[in-house]
């Protein structure tokens, strides 16, 4: 059972620009969103309180800052969008939080820190900050830290620029916490957090003659535990696992995952719908999950020739591929996420629907993120799409689906059953009903 958390007056539903990425930090205390306007909004979970137990789990705005600005590439006469493509958190070492945010070309490391004290009693300047006349100073005192209203500051600590000719689609923090990778359509670069003027190119699939280009990189991620291992997916529905110990340039994969094509389902759209839009390691590191246009697949790292599980997200769209090609929806890039225990996977669909698949029970559910259906404390009702024939009450027919309402980005709390769902410019946070 899923309940909407928080009241409408604050917490759950926010209207801003179109949300382009959602990510919980490693403890789940913070939830970051990036939007098309280049802004990052961070939510913080309210602490449990004996006096207001029902407010446990509410996320409130913690910090808002402008991460990226629109830029102009003078060489190509093209605009560089400020849209935040991905946010990834670094694990916490001290009181401050660190996250990476990226647009198409530039990755930035942001430090988010709290300030709740300030020094008072300077010698050389007065309380307003104006310099004092030195001849008027007769005594010496030690400034004292006094409490102040909590202020959350975000400062850019590193800017990793000019390393990508093509659009960055993924960033991934390595388990060594010293390096991270950024992947664009044709190349993957490895960075050290401390060094911004250099990066190592570890994958390059750009052909010598661009006219021969038939495949691009669509997503990439480091293994959660093995800092030498990463995977990247392609527009042809393949996943390559690479080991950085093998060579500096990982053009040769250590493992190659591809499912043989089903000849009975072949059409001119087969390749497009096989293009992988997201790849995610399980928390355990044993599996990878991939999302293509119609399905989510779980692969065992030890088996390359086919996935171990395939889940149909919205197979009723299979007969509509031509329309979806015409209106470009077929190119929508849906993401997918694991829950904390890797037992449930979740991904979005159209009409503000999102789907969850329980890997153990093989049960699945379709839910909807919308204001009308999500009153505070309400239980989300499972939705059903009717494919043909008689439409039951409460079912929605395929032709009534709203393809402009797509849920591309979702996130799952690392340890609890709390999910964040981005529906265009609204953020929904749902959690398990607590008695």
């Amino acid at each position: 059972e899923r309940g909407a958390s928080g009241g409408r007056e604050k917490g759950t539903v926010f209207t801003s620009d179109i949300i382009s990425t959602v990510e919980f930090n490693h403890t789940g205390e913070l939830l970051a969103t990036g939007d098309k306007g280049g802004r990052v909004v961070i939510f913080q979970r309210e602490q449990e309180s004996k006096h207001q137990p029902h407010r446990r789990g509410e996320y409130n705005v913690y910090s808002t800052f402008q991460s990226h600005e629109p830029e102009f590439d003078y060489l190509k006469s093209l605009e560089i969008e400020e849209k935040i493509n991905k946010i990834r958190w670094l694990p916490q070492h001290n009181a401050a939080y660190f996250l990476l945010s990226t647009n198409d070309k530039t990755v930035k490391l942001w430090k988010v820190s709290e300030r709740d004290k300030r020094p008072e009693g300077y010698n050389l300047k007065d309380e307003d900050g104006r310099l004092r006349d030195p001849s008027m100073i007769t005594t010496l005192r030690v400034p004292v830290l006094r409490p102040m209203d909590l202020m959350v500051e975000a400062t850019p600590r590193r800017v990793f620029a000019n390393a990508h000719t093509y659009h960055i689609n993924s960033i991934s923090v390595n388990s060594d916490y010293e390096t991270y990778m950024s992947a664009d359509d044709l190349r993957i670069n490895l960075w050290n957090f401390e060094i911004t003027n250099q990066s190592f190119n570890i994958v390059d699939i750009k052909p010598a003659n661009m006219e021969e280009l038939t495949e691009v990189i669509t997503a990439a991620e480091f293994h959660p535990h093995h800092c030498n291992t990463f995977v990247y997916s392609s527009s042809k529905g393949t996943i390559r696992l690479c080991d950085m110990r093998a060579s500096a340039l990982c053009d040769r994969h250590a493992k190659f995952f591809e499912e043989p094509e089903d000849p009975s389902n072949r059409s001119f759209f087969s390749e497009i719908i096989s293009s992988i839009s997201d790849v995610k390691f399980s928390h355990s590191g044993r599996y990878i999950m991939t999302r293509d246009y119609l399905t989510v697949k779980v692969w065992d790292l030890n088996m390359e020739n086919r996935p171990i599980e395939t889940y149909q997200v919205h197979d009723y769209l299979r007969s509509k591929l031509c329309s979806l090609y015409e209106n470009d929806c077929i190119f929508d890039k849906f993401e997918c996420v694991w829950n904390g225990s890797d037992s449930v996977i979740m991904t979005g669909s159209y009409n503000n629907f999102f789907r969850m698949f329980d890997r153990n029970t093989k049960r699945d559910v379709t839910l909807e993120a919308s204001r009308e259906n999500s009153k505070p404390r309400a239980i989300l009702k499972p939705r059903k799409v009717c494919v043909g024939g008689k439409r039951r009450k409460d079912e929605i027919s395929v032709d009534s689906l709203d393809f402009s309402k797509k849920i591309l980005h979702t996130a799952w709390h690392p340890s609890e059953n709390i999910i964040a769902v981005a529906a265009t410019n609204n953020l929904y946070i749902f959690q398990d009903k607590v008695n």
Binding site: D185, L186, V216, T218, R266, F268, C322, F331
Partner: protein
């Protein structure tokens, strides 16, 4: 190696409804004729039309990429691969061929004119580039193809377009140059595409004479209409040809009037 064509899967959505109704009529009326043409291939006329419209749509999409901020490379690659797939299949089943212009001396003057224009536009692009299958002339199909010569001509010349397109799509190093090339290729695309459409419609209404439509006026009409920035453009320009060649289809007059209005306004 025998290649089965892909099974057409998609129904018509938002495509020119003219096609759908016309097809139904054709299927009912000309069922015996279907078996005679293009023997050995599973193709039904509707499949070829679907494939053609998909090709047209894809070519337009590739061009439209240039008009945006910076083309989404993944999308462009996937569309280009789709175009390539269609081309390969059309090459395999013989609908994609270059007919020797000398051998069609018997055709009407209009056909020769259209051939000349199409070949001229394709030669401007060619400059030595050989298209796979372009020069494959399968003599077995010569007789079958005489009635479709205009169609194959226009499909052949459109092969040139995507090749140039691809280099335009990927290489963004010389934007000014590419923009110039792009406008040229865009014009050529529109030229060839809109020349194709009347012949597709011709399949539907075989009683309509080829010389019915005035190629020059249509070309002029299209050139002034190159400012389309949306994929809806495909719908508006695939239909104008039907307005001129299709006095028989009264049921769709309202729709056609509407489309002609749009064209005239732009």
């Amino acid at each position: 190696m025998f290649l089965t064509p892909v099974v057409p899967q998609w129904p018509f959505y938002k495509l020119d409804t003219m096609f759908v109704r016309g097809l139904k009529r054709k299927c009912f009326d000309g069922e015996e004729d279907i078996e005679g043409t293009l023997a050995g291939i599973k193709a039904i006329p509707s499949y070829n039309l679907q494939r053609q419209s998909l090709l047209d749509m894809s070519l337009v999409k590739l061009q439209l990429c240039h008009m945006l901020v910076e083309p989404n490379l993944c999308r462009s690659v996937l569309i280009a691969n789709t175009v390539r797939q269609i081309q390969e299949e059309m090459t395999q089943d013989g609908t994609w061929q270059m007919i020797n212009t000398q051998s069609t001396g018997q055709t009407s003057l209009d056909r020769l004119v259209s051939t000349d224009i199409l070949c001229r536009s394709s030669r401007e692009q060619a400059e030595g580039k050989q298209v796979p299958g372009y020069s494959n002339f399968n003599k077995d199909f010569e007789d079958d193809q005489t009635q479709d010569s205009s169609e194959t001509m226009s499909t052949a010349s459109s092969v040139q377009a995507p090749r140039n397109l691809q280099s335009n799509v990927w290489e963004m190093e010389n934007p000014q140059e590419n923009r110039g090339n792009f406008q040229k290729s865009l014009d050529q695309i529109f030229e060839t595409l809109e020349n194709k459409s009347p012949n597709s419609v011709e399949d539907l209404f075989s009683e309509v004479d080829n010389s019915y439509y005035d190629l020059d006026t249509m070309l002029t009409g299209m050139m002034s209409n190159t400012k389309m920035g949306h994929c809806d453009g495909l719908e508006t320009f695939s239909s104008p040809t039907t307005t001129t060649s299709n006095s028989n289809c009264k049921s769709d007059l309202n729709e056609l009037d509407h489309i002609v209005e749009i064209l005239v306004e732009s």
